[in-house]
């Protein structure tokens, strides 16, 4: 039987956020990162989340193959196929969740907070205090601030443009 070590794969994921303006002055966001398979030490850098999914999939597949060395080829095929199906389901959902979180971190964190809250209140009402997760929201606050500043600038520009258009209309 496979021991516990062979049943575990841990991954360390680092995201680095870069917010910048493109040539037209529009705010842009870029995510860079690296993922490391802890037990094996392999590491990969990425800027697309798909690469993370492929990296994890490849290591999980190795893990499954190692764990069923004593099985018959038919059994191996069946387990591998089920493992792949499981991963396909997870891989389809996980990037969406990450992307949603990147797009609207506050909303996603609030949803997770609500979910935890629901679970807590089911388990024990008296420990169901609201979890303090404000410190998790730092990056989203700066995002929001930047977006607000850009919106304010945009709003000012539109207002100026409107005045010019009005002047031109009057001249006509």
């Amino acid at each position: 039987m496979a021991n516990k070590k062979e049943e575990t794969a841990s991954f360390m994921l680092r995201f680095t956020q870069k917010i910048f303006e493109n040539e037209s002055g529009e705010p842009q966001i870029q995510w860079r990162g690296n993922i490391r398979h802890v037990q094996g030490g392999d590491e990969k850098r990425f800027s697309e989340f798909d690469d993370v999914v492929t990296f994890i999939q490849s290591h999980l597949q190795d893990l499954t193959i190692q764990a069923m060395e004593d099985k018959t080829p038919e059994e191996q095929k069946g387990i591998l196929s089920k493992s792949f199906d499981l991963w396909k389901r997870m891989a389809a959902e996980a990037p969406k969740m990450v992307m949603d979180t990147i797009k609207d971190p506050k909303k996603q964190v609030a949803q997770i907070q609500d979910q935890i809250q629901d679970q807590l209140s089911h388990v024990k009402d008296e420990i169901g205090q609201k979890l303090d997760i404000d410190s998790w929201l730092n990056s989203s606050k700066s995002d929001s601030k930047l977006i607000l500043e850009k919106l304010e600038k945009l709003s000012g520009d539109i207002s100026k443009l409107n005045k010019k258009v009005e002047k031109l209309s009057k001249k006509k």
């Binding site: 575990t8 360390m12 870029q30």
Partner: protein, 271 residues
């Protein structure tokens, strides 16, 4: 200002006065009253594993015995795990307090029921000191840059390499390794930024150190370009940009940020 100086002094004094000193960055070593604990004293690896686990989790108050066993010795059955823990705990106490009388309470490994914790008040640890210095640096970067600089230098000096390099493949050590590496990078980048105008060659050296930790850290390339430019060395500034461009393309398939490109234009524009 005096309060900040005192804070820095107290961290440095703790290193000189603590009866136990632990190095975890770059290598693992313990000094007991200035004397290094020999490899012979360590005996079984389980003893070092338990102490290192408690160091990595020093901020999680009260670790349950079963939780410790499950994280460190997850490959063995429950009975063997319990035995490992018992032997390792005895070994750790023996390493930290070799002259402690039996049946007296341990000074450093605090037990409360079935939970255990490393009491760090009288222990100097490089990771803790590094954390403290980086915090002082960050807090005083704007108002007291000279003190911030001193604190960052102390932090950088402590970063001798990865956290517990001999446990690189253990998942319980990964979180702390990642956290400390980012703290060290932060210190290197902030300090090199502080020194770009005043001492550009030192800023170059610091950014090179940052790039040894992470060769894709774009901020380090940008500061290095500025430092070379400040020094009047345009060719090296441009070469640094080329290196940055190459590595970002190789590793991420992306281009440098507009900020880095603008800096290149500025450097190229000056004849």
């Amino acid at each position: 200002m005096t309060a900040i100086k005192n804070k820095i002094e107290s961290i440095l004094n703790k290193k000189s006065n603590a009866s136990i000193r632990i190095q975890t960055l770059g290598s693992f070593q313990i000094w007991r009253n200035e004397e290094s604990v020999s490899s012979k004293e360590w005996g079984r690896d389980a003893i070092a594993q338990l102490l290192q686990f408690l160091i990595a989790n020093r901020n999680r108050h009260g670790l349950h015995k079963e939780q410790i066993i499950d994280r460190i010795w997850d490959e063995v059955d429950s009975k063997a795990g319990q035995q490992n823990f018992k032997v390792a705990l005895h070994g750790v106490n023996k390493i930290l307090e070799p002259t402690r009388k039996s049946r007296t309470e341990a000074k450093y490994i605090i037990r409360q029921g079935v939970t255990y914790q490393l009491k760090t008040d009288d222990i100097w640890m490089d990771v803790e000191a590094l954390d403290d210095f980086v915090a002082i640096g960050n807090q005083n970067l704007v108002d007291h840059p000279t003190l911030a600089r001193q604190a960052y230098y102390e932090a950088i000096e402590l970063y001798q390499g990865s956290f517990l390099p001999n446990r690189l493949y253990e998942d319980w050590s990964s979180e702390e390794r990642e956290r400390i590496q980012l703290a060290a990078l932060n210190a290197l980048i902030s300090l090199s930024e502080l020194l770009t105008k005043e001492n550009p060659l030192e800023a170059v050296r610091l950014t090179q150190k940052a790039l040894q930790i992470d060769a894709t850290w774009e901020d380090a390339y940008r500061i290095q370009m500025e430092a070379y430019f400040e020094k009047g060395n345009r060719p090296m500034a441009i070469k640094t940009y080329k290196q940055c461009e190459k590595i970002l393309d190789q590793e991420f398939g992306i281009q440098p940020l507009p900020e880095t490109k603008s800096l290149l234009k500025k450097i190229q524009g000056v004849q």
